[in-house]
Symmetry: C2
Amino acid sequence: MNFTCSKNDLIEAFNIVSKAVSNKSQMPILSGIYMKAEGSTLELQANNFEIGIITKIPVNTEEPGEIILTGKYLQEIVRKLSGEIVNISHDESQHVANIKSGGANFKLLSMSIDDFPKVKSPETFSSFSMKASTLKNLIRKTAYACANEEVRPVFTGCCIEIVGNSISMVATNTHRLAVMKDKINEEVDMPPIVVPSKTLWELFKMLDTSDLSNTVKIECSRKNISFTFDNIYMTARLIDGQFPPYDKVIPKESATIATINVNEIMETVDRVALISKETEHNTIRFIFSAEEGVNISSDSPEVGRAEEQISAKIEGPTVDISFNVRYIVDVLKVIDTEECIIKLNKSLSPVDIREKDRDDFIYVVTPVRTN
Amino acid sequence: MNFTCSKNDLIEAFNIVSKAVSNKSQMPILSGIYMKAEGSTLELQANNFEIGIITKIPVNTEEPGEIILTGKYLQEIVRKLSGEIVNISHDESQHVANIKSGGANFKLLSMSIDDFPKVKSPETFSSFSMKASTLKNLIRKTAYACANEEVRPVFTGCCIEIVGNSISMVATNTHRLAVMKDKINEEVDMPPIVVPSKTLWELFKMLDTSDLSNTVKIECSRKNISFTFDNIYMTARLIDGQFPPYDKVIPKESATIATINVNEIMETVDRVALISKETEHNTIRFIFSAEEGVNISSDSPEVGRAEEQISAKIEGPTVDISFNVRYIVDVLKVIDTEECIIKLNKSLSPVDIREKDRDDFIYVVTPVRTN
């Protein structure tokens, strides 16, 4: 194998596939980047069995062929080369790749092509498309709400549900629930699937460098989901298991309704959190009262106390309620309207937080019991 | 105690004294920031027994007094306050400080004033002054060469030696030596002292926010050194012990002399270091040859090989020599001339690296023995 290409193209392609490069040592081959030069195209692949990525760049192939090199070294070396053009050739008998650019000459040991699990496109049972911006928004509004622990694997992912042309993405860690809804351009018939949140965040980052008006094609099989956009193909494992019905978690009615400026409550919560994080359960206390607005406080016996009052439009009886501060900060960060609506019942009843005058985003959080 | 001041003044003062705040838990009082309000001045202190810092800011004192609060919380809270003006008062009977700004009200538990080791100015046996820029340069050119391990404590510091109006700062970890010389405006008579490199780096950072043309007053006692500049007083413990005579380490003559562009060798070494760092002793190999310039390479049996050739003016016999790459990178970073001079003898003889046409900076490094 022998090809020549632009250093910047190569760096960009490495940045893309490196998200699927594994750094765990159990299977060294998964730390590799696969490259196949043929005609005017270099195909690059990486696969860690959670996700697999393929991308392509233009090259000048002098001798077609395939090679696998350790992703870490390859990326570091190419990034530091002084020239604008890189030549990579492969001495197969010696298992050595030559990387040349400017006056630099690197030799890297290559790995065995046979061991590499090439990225496959499985047979799909349904496919649909949406704008990159829509997909990013679905992820941003929900994926943070997933569980981190693998106690119940299904909660480490987001559930994607499509009915007709309505799509919803749902995440929960059983203490809080985030739901985001949107429309797609076609009617799709498929069962709900659960995508690991880690996969969605990697996808989110990749979409960052993409034009948001571009279209992402999504294909689902029984065990996998794949995303095609720009010159990228990404496939990922689905999580096996059924997502519980979440509708019944959403409170049907509420006695107290607060309308609050999002920036103001966010800045205040951010300050009070300095004390909350020193408490046993990250506890922050809110007193919503029609007369006095919202009193936000936190007490730590070892450190001290924070207290702040903000104004708000509140209707209904006073509610004295405490939360894990992280669950409040997380949702305030993704609210895009100037004001948010907080719907409350009793001190220990789940609370519904939404954007004002919008119903496509729903967040439900369970309060913390305090003494 | 009760005073009001500008939030930004307070944040700046915390940034200064926090360098002497200890985060180790053995003596909680050392994690505190001491504040004393009197008239129009707030004095702030922190002391971790390695260094002690005093600074002052203008305030409006309503009730004079002293207080000690945990540095970490104090800094975080004040930084996040929304208002521009901060009021701090102290309820001594309850051991609680009230921090108010905008709508925020924080209460922080205060510590006992009696436990705090106030920063002292010991009696000094000699004092002198130099420009902040001179002091920074002495530190920058030498302190990185100190030992990290405390095997021989004296090598974890820089030796300051003054003869007449000539000052030199010297550092070594026994494998390499850095010496920087300069002039001061006065003749000083004092024995050599050894200042911990950690102290010098903290001082270096503090001088960063200072005007470089400002004067730093330096006072030495038998066990301490202090630096006074701007509104800062910093005192630090000296290291006990004698620095060995370093003059005899500097090679008297050299068979081969290379003149090399610093940027070019630095960039090349930086690339080859990607392989060096995977070798057992961080080894990088140089072949200096009058005919071919400098060949720079590194071999790792597990990863591969890097090799690059750069041009250089070389006089004398060819020398094939290997180093710990870090010892080369470190010195190249502080060389301020366009070209450097490398003076060599045999493969295992110490090497002298200097700036071209300047003799105030000397660096000597011992090669690595290879197979």
